[in-house]
């Protein structure tokens, strides 16, 4: 039983990682109906920024953290301005392909600048564990769980309670309509890309003690993507729940099922859920009435 609970806690921590990355997907989709396949690579870039600030420039961890998140926000709005805005209004898949291209380019350029070795930064969470009864939880995992839940809460409040958040939802439903209502649509776009990239940077820094900083860490985004879809693309609590479901399923199947199921558990679960609920767990399945 203890084994099971320990695995469960590990799964929840992993799930929060996925949830954190999935949040980035969901934010952009929720506000602009764009799917950003480079989310995982943005996270990787965030990790490398943090490495640059903390290890190479010698900043304090927290200041370096802040700088990395701010730099990511600036980078996010730059990406929006330069490559996303010119193709708005094209079929959704064109934008998906552009972000895939961005991911290729980012991975290669970061590899050229920082090399392809495993890097790591010292963080206050790197060592140390917490004991709850007989359970052992490492501080780095705990930090991810706490940060994910907090971020989810803050972003949910932002989207549902503030003027700008509601304006973002309006923009995603009908851009022209949003223009007519006086919503600054272009600013909404830059802002949401900045926020989403900042969240990715946040994830990158928090992940640094758990996984190394490496150019291929962006592939975690491929696991986070099912999490976002499972929760229903466009639902912030859905991203967290989806991430948790996938993280727990992956950990438990790695522990109890034969080898090989661990890697595909997320995808099998995703297919099953999509067959029952084609728009994810929390998604709205609306159809046009004629």
């Amino acid at each position: 039983m203890l084994d099971f609970i320990q695995q469960l806690v590990g799964g929840i921590a992993l799930g929060c990682v996925y949830g954190l990355i999935a949040l980035g997907f969901v934010l952009i989709y929720k506000a602009t109906e764009v799917v950003n396949f480079a989310q995982g690579d943005l996270m990787m870039l965030g990790g490398f920024f943090a490495y640059g600030f903390i290890d190479q420039l010698g900043f304090n961890y927290w200041i370096g953290f802040l700088c990395a998140v701010i730099a990511m926000a600036a980078f996010g709005s730059l990406v929006e301005r330069v490559i996303v805005r010119p193709i708005l209004g094209y079929p959704q898949f064109s934008i998906v392909m552009v972000t895939i291209g961005l991911g290729f380019a980012l991975r290669a350029i970061v590899g050229m600048i920082w090399g392809t070795d495993d890097l790591r930064i010292d963080t206050p969470f790197s060592s140390g564990v917490m004991h709850v009864g007989k359970l052992v939880i490492a501080h780095d995992k705990l930090s991810v769980i706490v940060a994910t839940v907090l971020l989810c809460g803050v972003l949910w409040l932002y989207f549902n309670k503030t003027r700008m958040g509601i304006a973002m939802q309006a923009t995603s439903q009908n851009m022209l309509g949003a223009y007519y209502m006086g919503i600054p649509v272009k600013r909404v776009f830059s802002l949401i890309w900045a926020i989403s990239a900042a969240v990715a940077g946040f994830a990158g820094v928090l992940l640094a003690p758990i996984a190394f900083i490496h150019t291929n860490i962006g592939f975690l985004g491929l696991k986070a993507f099912p999490a976002a879809v499972l929760g229903g693309f466009g639902s912030i609590p859905g991203a967290l729940v989806g991430g948790l479901v996938i993280g727990v399923a992956e950990t438990l199947s790695g522990f109890y099922l034969p080898e090989g199921f661990k890697d595909v558990a997320a995808y099998i679960l995703l297919l099953v859920v999509l067959m029952v609920r084609p728009a994810g767990l929390f998604g709205l399945n609306l159809r046009k009435k004629v």
Binding site: Y29, L88, Q92, F104, A105, R107, A108, M112
Partner: protein, 381 residues
């Protein structure tokens, strides 16, 4: 520009709209037929890859470009075709039997994937096909009795009527070319039939298609199945061309390449599949060429213009060219630039060039100017 006077519907759906088309495609076919005698063996081998990619491209174009169902799992279909060929060949089944078998089997799997895909749309369909791709990759790695697992599988050369078709020889080139032409004609005929028009209707509006009596489920499953079958055919040829297959060859990256084929080529037309596959196959050797030869060429030019210290310049350029991952960066940037500046792909560019010459002094840029578009939610389909 030749005015076309049509008097009945049969003329409107002719394969070649007028004799000019017949001539130009005939000349093109002749050039491709003569090519292997002129070009070197390396280029010939690359062109075989172009043929194989183009077959997949045509398949994907029918699904994504005409039926509007985007798939990022086509590497899995390719794998099914390739592994079927390999498994059958190992058990002594002749080529003439296992080639159709791999086509039929992949088509059947495509239909099976099509059923759950019926309820999905847009991004949910993309992720479902990605999931299918990952699962098939894992199956290929674990089902060792059939696929030989991660050790991979050797594919012997094709035996046909007592002859052996070497994978680098002329005969294999012509075999692949023949299949590409066959697939193209098949696709053209499909697209001018009621089935093809139903696909296009589904792409443009599912609701409207349904209301004029298109059975969505039947046609969507059919599109998936046809597309998968073509990819299975390409898979069989791909296995023979590579002569060795292993699970890590059929990853998401390959599926992405196929989508890049049709996007760079131009989604609206079968020309796009061929042009796009030329681009995707040739970009790699081209970048290597740039990397190896360009620094030297620039260095020589600098020397002839009398720039101080041309050797250092050449070394710097070589260092930049030699940096790991430069190819990935350029590849990514090409995709971005293409989609931003030429959303209709290489074929779109060709149409513009052709129109420029047809209307020579009167060509206006505004003909192709895009209108301001606003995004509307796809959640309310």
């Amino acid at each position: 520009m030749r005015p076309i006077f049509q008097t009945d519907y049969g003329q409107d759906i002719r394969l070649f709209r007028h004799s000019g088309y017949l001539w130009s495609y005939g000349v093109l076919l002749l050039l491709v037929l003569l090519a292997p005698f002129v070009i070197g063996s390396y280029l010939q081998s690359q062109i075989v890859f172009v043929f194989i990619y183009a077959i997949v491209g045509v398949g994907l174009l029918i699904l994504a470009g005409f039926a509007g169902q985007v798939s990022l799992g086509h590497a899995a279909f390719l794998a099914i075709g390739a592994y079927t060929a390999g498994y059958m060949q190992r058990h002594g089944v002749p080529f003439l039997v296992y080639l159709p078998l791999s086509v039929v089997l992949t088509g059947a799997v495509g239909a099976l994937v099509g059923f759950p895909a019926l309820r999905l749309a847009g991004i949910y369909l993309v992720i479902a096909t990605i999931a299918f791709g990952f699962i098939m990759e894992e199956v290929a790695a674990r089902w060792e009795s059939v696929t030989n697992g991660n050790d991979g599988m050797r594919i012997k050369q094709i035996e046909l009527f007592g002859f052996t078709l070497s994978r680098d020889g002329y005969s294999f080139y012509y075999l692949c070319l023949g299949f590409l032409v066959l697939v193209l004609i098949l696709a053209l005929n499909l697209l001018r039939s009621p089935t093809g028009r139903a696909f296009i209707a589904i792409r443009d509006s599912e609701t409207a298609a349904q209301s004029i009596g298109v059975n969505l489920s039947v046609y969507k499953v059919m599109a998936f199945s046809i597309s998968a079958a073509m990819t299975g055919l390409a898979g069989c040829l791909y296995a023979h061309k590579m002569s060795f297959i292993s699970p890590e060859m059929f990853t998401l990256l390959l599926s992405l390449e196929f989508v890049i084929v049709i996007l760079i080529g131009g989604v609206g037309s079968l020309h796009g599949a061929v042009l796009g596959s030329i681009f995707v196959v040739m970009v790699d050797p081209f970048l290597s060429y740039l990397k190896d030869d360009l620094p030297r060429v620039i260095g020589e030019m600098a020397r002839s213009f009398g720039v101080a210290n041309p050797g250092a310049l050449q070394d710097t350029l070589s260092a930049i060219g030699g940096a790991a991952g430069l190819k990935g960066a350029i590849y990514g940037l090409i995709i971005i630039v293409f989609i931003i500046f030429e959303p209709y792909g290489l074929y779109g560019r060709w149409l513009k060039i052709r129109l420029y010459f047809e209307l020579f002094p009167l060509y206006k840029k505004a003909t192709f100017r895009r209108q301001k578009t606003y995004v509307k939610s796809e959640r309310y389909r």
